[in-house]
Structures are given as C-alpha cells and as structure tokens.
Symmetry: C2
Subunit: 330 residues, 2 copies
C-alpha cells in the first residue's frame, strides 16, 4: 500500500472572504466569477475597499486535499508559504485536517508574504477572486520530494500553478517520480483564463502525462477553443483516460474507457460557490482511490460540492461521509 | 452634536474559531463557557491541538463597537494591536465597518504579537475562550486621547481590560475626560472570573464613575457575592443609574430610575454564543443614543444577540436595522 492516496501540489493561499454586490465589483474593477492575479499594491488597495472579512485557509489544490483528508484519506500537500502569521494559519489548517504538510516555510526575510486571495461573494453566491500569489509563486523543482511522489497513488496538480516561472519544471519532476512508481497524475484546469494563458502547455501535458483531467464547462470550451460542448467533451476524451467535467447546476460529465456517465447535481442553496470544484475533485479522487466506480465517484463529487457551496468558506463543515451515507453512496 | 456616539476601549483580539466536543475541552484542560488567559506557549500548544479553524476579528468591546457602527452609529475604538498580519486584519475589519480606529500599532520589533483568542465552540453552541493577550495587555494612559473621549456621548469600557497593569489608569483618564464634557460611561463586567479578580476595583468604579453597567447573571452574582439574583439586581441598581443584566434564554433585566423592565429573549438556534453580550450592548447603546426608551433598547439588544448567536463569529452578518424593523422596534 502506498503511503499517500493523494498528494496535491498548488498555490498555498489564505482566503479573505467578504460579501458585496455587483455594483461594488464594477466600481472596484473586479471581473465577476473568475480568478484575477493582483500585485501587493492592488491587494492593499482592494483590502482597503472591501467590508469586514473573515480569513479561512484556501488554495484550490489545498482545498481538495483537505477534502480527501476530511474523508479519512491519506494525503500530503506541497505549496509554499512564508514564516508569517498567515503561513502558520495555512499550515495549521491542513495539518489539523490530517494532511501531511512538509514544505519548508520561506524565511521571514524573503520577499513577499504568504499568498492570499480576496474573495468577493455576491448575493447570487458567485465568487470573484483576487489573488496575490506572494511566495507561493516560487514553487520550484527543489521543493518536490521525489520519494513523496513515488509513494502516491495519485498526484493532483493545480492548473493555476502554471503561472509560476519554475513550476512547470516542478510539475515535470513530480510527474516523473509518480509515473515511475506506478502512480497516476490528475490535473485541474483551474480557470478559463488560466487555460488561455497556458493552452499549449496544458494540451501537451494532458496528452502525454495526465491520467485524469478535472475541469468545468468554461475551462473545457476554452481548452478546445469551441462553443460546442459535446465536441469539447469528445476531444477531451481522446486526449486523456479519464475526463471529469463539472457543469454547475447540470452536475458533472464523466468520460472514461469509451463510456460516458452524466451525474446530476445535488440541489442546494448557493451561499458561496468558493471551493465547489475543489471539493468535487477531492471527493472524486477519494472515491476512486477507495475503489468505487466512476458514476459513484461522480455522485460523491456532487454531494461534496453541494456541501461546500451551502456555507461561506471552501472546506467542508459537515461530515461528508455522513452525507455519502444519506445518499446511499457508501 | 458630539462626534462619537460610542467610543469603546478594550482588548483588541482576533478570534480563532474552531469546533470540538466536550471531551476535547476536558482533554485539553479548557474550562467550559468562560474566558481563560493563556501565555504564548500555551497558545501555540493549544493551536496545535485544535482542528481546522477560521480567523475573525473579535475582542469584546470591539464587537460592541462593530455592532454600533453596523447600525450606522458614529463610533471609535481604542485597543492595541501590533504591526503584523493579525493586527492589520483587526484594524481593517473595524474600519471597514465604519468605526474610527486610530490607536498606533505596536512596532514590528515589540515583544509579543497581536492578541488572539482561541474560541472552542461545542455542539451546544457554548464558547470556551482561551486568550493570549499579546500587545493588547499594555494599553496605557498615553494611548488615551482626551479630545476623543471629550467628544463621546458614551465611552464603553471592557472589564477584561482590568487585567492590564496600566489600564486602570488609562480608564481613569478616559472617564475624567468624558465626564468633564458631559459624556457618560458604560462598563461591562465581561466575565465572572474577571469580576473575581478585580471585585473591589470594579465596585469602586461602578459606584463613583459608571452611568450604565452591563453584565450577565453570573457576573452580577459574582459581583455581589450572592446566590440571590433578585438581591443582586437590587444591590446593583443602588450602585449605578442604569443596570442592564442579560440572562441567556430569559432575556434581559433593565433597572433605571427606580423602574424595572424584563425583556424576553428572541428564540433562536444557538450555533455559536460568542459575542451575544457584546452585540446586546452595542444595540442597547445605539438605541439609547438614538433616543429610544429603555425597554425598546433592551429588545434591540435581544434581537442583536439572537442574530449573532445564530452563526459562527461575533459580529453581525445580517442587517440589524432590518431585524429591528421586522420586530417593530424602529
């Protein structure tokens, strides 16, 4: 048995969650429903404009790993934080959830701070993300421990990390160590604009290295530069062994080994959409690793996504296992 | 018209909120339902024991001021934080709510950090608080701007601050400046054990300087060292012009000018009791300052307390004015 079921690699961030209406988004120049990268000056300026906020550990792959760990899965996470108060919060919350978090902290005198994401939640539950990457931008090959990757059933790579100068090489190192020892590689496309920035690199990695691709409808359409969702699903299924595409209130589409399953969404009131895709992926990967079939993994993903969008914050607050039991999945 | 309706002085803290059961409290040696002071070593040790947490600005008087500001009141707050990430969070959240927060930050090289309170919320909604005071302990007379106090209709003093070596003198300076310009002084007893530590000093201040005393049943009984609640209310009413005693599910008791009003509680599901007393006081003071009568102010307090205990965190998340309208109070 491998030591880890899932090892995640991504942007280590603390979320700064606040509520505002659409007029505020327009006034503050925030693109709705997407992730935009901002620098420290903009982060300070925007923080001065938002209302009272709360701080919760976030980071896309870290949320996924927190979900797997919450379900009792054996997990580890790799992502850079600084030796500051937000870094301590991020590390605590992953470890307290049961994940291994061993990445060394950037020292107190390093440039930048622990990354943070100012998340503005509008009354419709949509989240608009403003990301100051800080030290997490500089994840590099030496941060990857090949022994950890070799001991993983799955590694889970966050597409956002393609924005870092040395992270492609870090991903390549992780992929090689994982595949050399029979592990598999999952990737999430993260965001349609992120796909736009890195389409060719994503495409190459998906075809050559990825065993499971997570994405949502907008990301998949952006990836294959088409408006025809069916064509995009077919194209994706040709590129990767397992394609899992979430589709908001329409649930999720799973394509593997020539088969197709549609999984319906779990109806819920959307309070804060932050983390829906992340927790979907966490539940899906946990299910796969535990030996459940594809449609069951997809349903687990939808149940987990429904839980996390029913409250503020991107990590589970009720027992996902209890919810899986209620839905007859375990 | 004075510039400020309420100026609060208290412990500036960020709350670290987590959930756990009663067995955890016993194992970790945490007294249930009370505030215990801890040092940095214990804070680090306890933080290592708790599960995932979220960070929200807190501090008793700061929550009260946030409540008054949320209602549109003109407010300011005085309490020490450090020039660190948690200090920035604390200051942001008060200013973003509309309060003036002018206290200078303790410099980066000062001993200690911004104070924090590890709040463990049990399934019954009770909160058990573990307070590392940090730099907030050292509030001293030079932190008090007499001009600000002179321009306040009310100053609101947090009993917890009696635990600081120079804070009695700071309070005296604030009281003198306020009273000299026709303002009034409110005090909250904060906690029965805090009353135990400072009973004589509290008693003297209540008799000589306080115009409005906020407390709850346990604090009042501790203050007057009796088991007879009626006798304690009578004793309190002799010491102070306005006595407001909250009483959990029994609502609140208001005694002023020889009159007595009982105000029923607003039924609600208790998710997290943190901040109930603080928001009661904020709504009551806002009501008084706006010219509402005593029983109406008491009902406003109960409505505000019900709002804040219905969710995690000690500051309002829904519009208190809308709730006051729903209850026919404004």
């Amino acid at each position: 048995m491998k030591k880890f079921q899932v090892v995640g690699i991504g942007n280590a961030m603390v979320d700064v969650l606040t509520r505002a209406d659409d007029a505020f988004l327009a006034e503050a120049g925030i693109g709705k429903g997407i992730m935009q990268l901002i620098d420290m000056d903009r982060a300070v300026d925007l923080y001065g404009q938002i209302g009272p906020a709360r701080e919760v550990s976030g980071g896309s792959a870290a949320n996924t790993i927190a979900g797997v760990a919450h379900l009792g899965g054996r997990t580890a996470y790799v992502g850079k934080v600084k030796d500051d108060q937000l870094g301590a919060i991020f590390a605590h919350d992953l470890r307290a959830q049961g994940a291994v978090y061993e990445t060394s902290f950037a020292p107190k005198d390093a440039d930048g701070e622990t990354g943070r994401c100012i998340v503005v939640v509008t009354p419709d539950g949509e989240r608009s993300m403003n990301t100051y990457l800080g030290v997490t931008e500089f994840l590099k090959p030496s941060d990857i421990d090949p022994a950890m990757m070799a001991d993983a059933e799955w590694i889970y790579l966050e597409g956002y990390r393609f924005d870092g100068p040395e992270s492609h090489a870090a991903f390549a190192k992780a992929i090689n160590a994982t595949h050399a020892h029979g592990g598999r590689v999952a990737l999430t496309l993260s965001d349609p604009f992120c796909v736009d920035r890195h389409r060719d690199a994503f495409r190459l990695m998906i075809r050559e290295d990825v065993d499971l691709l997570f994405c949502n409808r907008a990301e998949l359409l952006s990836m294959y530069q088409t408006d025809d969702f069916k064509a995009a699903l077919d194209a994706g299924a040709k590129d990767v062994a397992i394609l899992v595409c979430t589709d908001s209130e329409h649930g999720a589409h799973v394509l593997a080994n020539g088969a197709y399953w549609h999984v319906p969404a779990v109806p819920t009131k959307v309070v804060d959409a932050t983390g829906a895709g992340d927790l979907f992926a966490g539940a899906f990967l946990w299910g796969l690793s535990e030996g459940y079939d594809m449609p069951t993994c997809g349903r687990m993903g939808c149940v987990a996504a429904a839980e996390v969008i029913s409250h503020i914050g991107a990590r589970p607050e009720s027992s996902l296992k209890n919810l899986f039991k209620l839905h007859g999945l375990i």
